[in-house]
Symmetry: C2
Subunit: 209 residues, 2 copies
């Protein structure tokens, strides 16, 4: 599908066809495309909890302002932003450091240097850890939504949920923030999609100080 | 350009051709495509400071670990994530509330309700304000990178800069966090692009607890 068509036709769909499943192979394809997103020092501080069973979706819906799309969509992804993904003892940091050596872009003696850089950029405060995790997982989430559309799927990114209750109900470790829930499926064609929402213009986006 | 081609060929390019300019019309097109990104309650808490003059790029480079791409790229975008974009007195909140009424999706008496919802979801702590701003601006930034590639442009998202020094040097108000600097231009074809970096597999991304 043409990129422009994907971008212009991606909508946050409110009504999903509960009878149209998303095959696992398609979900995998969508996630693998999004995995190509860039990240700070290639640390990829994102994970996904896939919610698919009627029981799990019902539990999640109760914690998400009872939004019907949580149970109507065949799949809901709980996006996880890893606030500690920059730390020297984190598995992704380790993998990254080892892959960088294989690629010849760093030498083993630079480990302390790399640890100090990521500590200073992302670990200096709670706010910086949050910024690191949510910015990068934001990249990944946007890619997921566009990749889904390119495969003919629809999505809806959701903010309306009780963050701590979802964390508790799904045993999500403290190091993760949940930036968004993403409903994935097919638009219910018996419903009518509302008009497109307004967007800021170029002149409203570009500022000068 | 095919979506899959865009995603697979977007790279964080290290070498920009300093002689190949990005026409203003193309930059506008890129930003307008990215403006279609979704956001929490459609609040679009993102802005851009466009850095183009040799003087401004030189000032920015000094604050960004002296990375040559800051001055070699014809354009560097300073992405701004608005931590207060959910507040009831914010211009975007006001515009949004008015556009929602025009679209018939909210009634004027729901103003206090909407203010309370956004306050509770995004304004409850510094961390939540940061998560709101960086997640949404993350969506927007990813769309910018892909939109650029779809137009034949290359980009490089940069984290390596002194956040508070850039804020001071470019008079950026306190309400903004700077999640990323984005160099935009054309790859310098006299240079060689390194091999693609490793990415987490599907099984490394999808977790269970």
């Amino acid at each position: 599908m043409e990129f422009k068509h994907v971008v212009e036709n991606r909508r946050a769909v409110n009504f999903f066809d509960p009878d149209k499943q998303v095959p696992d192979s398609m979900l995998k394809q969508m996630i693998e495309m999004a995995a190509l997103s860039p990240s700070s020092f290639n640390l990829q501080p994102w994970n996904i909890l896939v919610v698919k069973t009627p029981d799990d979706k019902a539990r999640l819906r109760k914690l998400a302002f009872d939004q019907p799309k949580v149970t109507e969509a065949p799949v809901v992804l709980i996006l996880l932003a890893d606030r500690l993904g920059w730390q020297g003892n984190h598995p992704t940091f380790e993998k990254n450091f080892s892959e960088m050596q294989k690629a010849g872009s760093i030498t083993p003696d630079k480990r302390e240097w790399l640890e100090n850089v990521t500590q200073n950029l992302y670990g200096a405060s709670d706010s910086q850890q949050m910024a690191f995790a949510c910015k990068n997982t934001g990249f990944f989430s946007m890619s997921l939504m566009l990749a889904a559309k390119s495969l003919g799927l629809d999505t809806h990114p959701m903010d309306g949920f009780d963050h701590e209750a979802v964390r508790a109900a799904f045993n999500i470790p403290d190091q993760y923030w949940i930036p968004v829930l993403l409903a994935v499926g097919y638009f219910n064609t018996t419903m009518t999609m509302g008009p497109k929402k307004w967007r800021k213009t170029y002149d409203e986006i570009v500022v000068q100080f």
